[in-house]
């Protein structure tokens, strides 16, 4: 299959690569450039494990083609906190509130929460639950994820 050159900025680094037109953004991230922090949980765009920010807005990277990201900026959980050993308030809050167990849904859940708090810095419990509807977690029952997002809002000055 013919390959198409693309240039994508991921977590602050520009990658110039050639990809098959059908290549999913999440496979480009994981397999072509080794950003394995973002994961795949399903093949029907239901689980949200693959959520990243594309030009600052959350998308499911399993339902975006790599070629669609050409010329755009992708932020994954690995680039969320600037600098090594740094913590974004959402990451801090998830640790504080035990908002993760196995951690597989976490990269997507954290990025979805970042987007949610950008849109609504002071969400109610119901707004958090509705806002994270596209991200499945089998471990936590969401109770502590909701708490984490509430606490992150507080850390970010929303409350």
């Amino acid at each position: 299959m013919t390959h198409i050159p693309i240039s994508v900025t991921v977590d602050g680094t520009v990658y110039d690569v050639e990809v098959e037109p059908r290549r999913l953004l999440v496979h480009f991230l994981r397999e072509d450039i080794g950003r394995v922090g973002t994961v795949v949980g399903c093949d029907t765009s239901n689980c949200g494990a693959c959520t990243v920010l594309l030009d600052g807005k959350s998308v499911k990277s399993c339902s975006v083609l790599a070629v669609q990201a050409d010329g755009h900026v992708v932020l994954t959980v690995q680039g969320l906190a600037e600098g090594e050993h740094q913590w974004h308030p959402v990451q801090t809050a998830f640790k504080e509130c035990h908002g993760l167990q196995c951690g597989y849904c976490t990269p997507g859940m954290v990025m979805a929460a970042v987007d949610l708090l950008q849109e609504n810095p002071n969400p109610s419990e119901e707004e958090i639950r509705e806002g994270l509807e596209g991200n499945l977690c089998r471990c936590t029952g969401y109770h502590n994820i909701v708490k984490s997002v509430e606490y992150a809002a507080e850390l970010m000055g929303g409350k």
């Binding site: 394995v36 994961v39 949980g41 196995c102 849904c105 954290v110 991200n135 936590t140 109770h143 606490y151």
Partner: protein, 802 residues
């Protein structure tokens, strides 16, 4: 908000420490099996049967071999002896039917998703593409889907006589009749006029495990000294190593199994899967790494399912509510083949039907049935959620029949706290428990009386939204398991657990455990246990696990066993390490061992606090070995392998209030209170998280989830679009609390918590919905209690169409 141990002397046991695991997981610094990319890797793609039951009349992979990037393709015939058979290690009866389960189907397929052929390519997409080029023809056979029809004379057999089987779909029959056959009827007869009998059929529907990380395996024959390294998203690296050796015939000492970061399991990764066998065999055959990561759609058809039982249950009591007898007849769906412990799952529930209740008579029988469906096996709770559902549901039905408050009926019949240890009618001895205390706390948090009053009001006013209250006073058995007991139950392996602790020359500690976490937080909790004994900071302990090369002994993680059994090994190993260190310290301090006390990580001479030696100094002495006492070997390490004395029995009271819209059938959880008694807690934050997650699984089963097949055996719920794993919007916040009755079957006093929520919650939910609708003549609601199923129940209650 953070609980950090700024006071180095504080005992870390019982504290809600934030988890060590989280920094890595929150920054994406993870090592999932699918991350592994080895040079020369071949990606395996699997052609799966679209038919539930069929003969393979033609199968040709030659065209696939011509596709770009394809290196090899195999059918069962091509693999020959390399086509291993998936093992079952729990032949529950002497005359159980155990048909072969070839990794790649031989001549026949027996469920949708059965493996037919594999393609190996240097590119993942190319491997999947090449499946299209495989030529295959099937001759359909009648699909055996309905369990009751399957065991009738004349049914098509999933494994027929021509396949060398018995030609019946009955896998086994297992009775447990401690008071003899017919004891239930005899007890009812003996009660004369003073008896009420309630009989129900409950369907515990089929569900999936639903871990978020799909299964994956990488098998690399490129290890050291003939080593085959296998990375797998598994709960059981140690057990898997033994089984892979047995299945493949490869020497066990050449296999190294590593479970790197594993994204949830819930029993679904407690398995030796055909894809793992295929990856290993093909990697060995081709001499290069083979990798396979399932798609979610593959997971839905190929990873084992759970539950799927028809439960006919009868309970008898006196007219004032004293339970006199219980009878349970199960039909349990095995699926098309037996996997690792498929036949044993319903029997793990066998002991738990009498639950927390005193009764003189119990009869149990289970018939395991083959059908043309995905094999079943353990999912969170494994047999115990089914038992708990049936008993807690029927106790509510009995209460309704007797016109008694369901909590009063329970109180009347449960084992009182002063009656422990208590030998149950099913043959277990519950060591401790306090059902009164857990219930009192739950009732208080819930506001039981006020909710009952509101229920009365809504009933009186004919409110279209009715309120129901659901109770589940459950217990379960954890800590699998005393090896002798397992042996008596014909389970092939033991139930011990291992720990090695090493004090390194630099003062750091390595704790090697045989448990294999996949989200539970063992690294944090195990460090807390060891730190409390060794008196070192929690962060100085590194927990090594899930790699048979680095942690060679273990029985892995399932059945809420890791703390109850593994915790004992940690305690014993840590204590042994202190014992050894003490001998060295006494030598260093020139005193007798008896003159020393070990306080906060240092050996001190009694009465002379100035003379002390920290553990780290002793560890360095053991390393340099310049001045060790005679007869003491260098290095400071200790190990322990512990076989548990008995099970432990967590219990709790869960209360649920649900609003049911009688016009739409929609249910909304208004409040859910869970008071659990899991014994001593190492880390209450982790305990709470486990309860939350279990509740979500159980509520998922009660309200949303269910695997469905059509009559031809097509899986109708074949993706996350069709199978509803609850999202945040589908669940409420929970009110959780604990009572603490230490277990006496292990020295830490712990019980187990991983499965509690999943076991307790389904009956609490369904009892609440039935309670809301009982005045409308509703006596049962089918799980999952979707609006449609609730609406049907309301209609049936009115005597209308179902």
């Amino acid at each position: 908000m953070t609980e950090t141990l700024t006071d180095a002397n504080a005992n870390p046991m019982g504290r809600p420490l934030r988890r060590k695991e989280d920094a890595r997981l929150l920054h994406g610094q993870t090592n999932w099996t699918d991350n592994i990319q080895l040079p020369g890797t071949l990606h395996m793609a699997i052609l799966r049967s679209p038919m539930a039951h069929a003969k393979i009349t033609n199968l040709d992979v030659s065209a696939a071999l011509k596709r770009p990037h394809v290196v090899a393709a195999f059918t069962a015939k091509d693999l020959g002896d390399l086509n291993g058979s998936v093992p079952c290690v729990w032949p529950v009866t002497d005359d159980i039917q155990m048909p072969g389960f070839p990794a790649l189907a031989v001549d026949k397929v027996r469920h949708v998703g059965d493996c037919v052929a594999v393609v190996l390519a240097t590119d993942k997409y190319a491997a999947a593409d090449a499946l299209d080029a495989i030529e295959v023809d099937y001759e359909p056979l009648p699909a055996v889907i309905d369990m009751e029809a399957a065991i009738k004379q004349g049914s098509t057999a999933v494994h027929d006589a021509a396949d060398g089987s018995l030609g019946t779909n009955v896998c086994y029959e297992f009775p447990l009749k401690p008071q003899g056959d017919g004891a239930f009827d005899a007890a009812v007869k003996a009660a004369g006029d003073d008896v009420v009998v309630v009989k129900r059929r409950f369907i515990n529907q089929r569900i999936i495990a639903g871990y978020m990380e799909p299964r994956a395996v990488v098998a690399s024959p490129m290890g050291m000294s003939n080593e085959m390294t296998i990375w797998s998203a598994t709960q059981i690296p140690h057990v898997l190593r033994v089984l892979l050796a047995l299945v493949t015939g490869m020497p066990e000492n050449s296999l190294r199994v590593i479970a790197p970061d594993v994204g949830g399991g819930f029993g679904g990764k407690l398995q030796c899967y055909r894809e793992e066998i295929l990856a290993v065999q093909i990697a060995r055959h081709l001499g290069r790494p083979v990798k396979w990561t399932e798609t979610r759609s593959e997971d839905m058809v190929a990873s084992h399912h759970g539950r799927d039982q028809i439960q006919d249950i009868q309970i008898a009591s006196t007219k004032d509510g004293q339970i006199i007898a219980l009878k349970v007849d199960l039909i349990a769906n095995m699926g098309a083949y037996l996997q690792i412990i498929t036949p044993g799952i319903p029997l793990l529930g066998m002991f738990m039907y009498p639950a927390i209740y005193k009764m003189p008579t119990y009869e149990f029988n289970c018939v395991g049935v083959f059908t043309n469906t995905t094999p079943t096996d353990a999912i969170r709770g494994a047999g115990r959620p089914e038992a708990t559902f049936a008993i807690e549901r029927i106790v509510d039905e009995l209460a309704a029949e007797l016109d008694m408050d369901p909590m009063k009926l329970r109180e009347m019949n449960w084992i009182k706290h002063e009656e422990f240890p208590y030998a149950t009618v099913a043959g277990l001895t519950y060591d401790t428990g306090n059902y009164e205390a857990a219930t009192a706390k739950a009732m208080d948090l819930f506001g039981y009386d006020a909710l009952r009053a509101e229920q009365e009001q809504r009933r009186a006013s004919g409110d279209p939204v009715q309120l129901g209250i659901g109770i589940s006073t459950f217990t379960e058995m954890c800590g699998l398991a005393p090896s002798r007991t397992l042996g008596a139950l014909k389970y092939v392996a033991g139930g011990w657990e291992h720990c090695t602790i090493r004090a390194l020359p630099t003062g750091k500690i390595e704790l090697v455990t045989g448990t294999s976490p996949h989200g539970q937080g063992h690294e944090t909790a195990w460090s807390q246990i060891a730190a409390s004994i060794l008196g070192v900071p929690v962060d100085d302990i590194e927990v090594i696990h899930s790699d048979t090369g680095r942690a060679p002994y273990g029985m892995d993680t399932y059945g809420s066993r890791s703390l109850a059994v593994g915790g004992q090994a940690i305690k014993k190993a840590a204590e042994r390490l202190v014992e050894k260190a003490k001998v060295i310290a006494a030598h260093q301090l020139e005193c007798s061992v008896d003159d020393l006390e070990f306080i906060q990580g240092a050996f001190r001479v009694k009465g002379d606090p100035a003379k002390s030696q920290p553990l780290a100094a002793v560890a360095f002495e053991a390393f340099s070995a310049h001045n060790l006492p005679d007869g003491v070997e260098p290095t400071l390490q200790a190990e322990a392998t512990v076989d548990p004395d008995d099970f432990s029995y967590p219990h709790g009271t869960h209360l649920c209030a649900i609003e049911v819209d009688t016009e739409t059938g929609k249910s909304k959880i208004r409040s859910y209170v869970a008071v659990d008694d899991v014994g001593i807690q190492v880390n209450p934050l982790i305990v709470e998280g486990q309860v939350h997650g279990g509740l979500a699984c159980g509520i998922g089963q009660a309200l949303y989830e269910g695997v469905e097949y059509d009559s031809d055996g097509n899986l109708l719920t074949a993706s996350f679009a069709d199978y509803l794993i609850p999202s945040a919007a589908d669940l409420p916040s929970f009110t959780t609390d604990r009572t603490v009755t230490p277990s006496t079957t292990n020295p830490l006093g712990t019980k187990g918590v991983g499965e509690a929520g999943a076991i307790a919650s389904p009956p609490a939910i369904i009892n609440a919905i039935v309670d809301a609708l009982r005045p409308m003549g509703v006596t049962d609601v089918k799980m999952p209690a979707t609006p449609e199923n609730v609406w049907r129940a309301i209609n049936a209650g009115k005597g209308g169409a179902q």
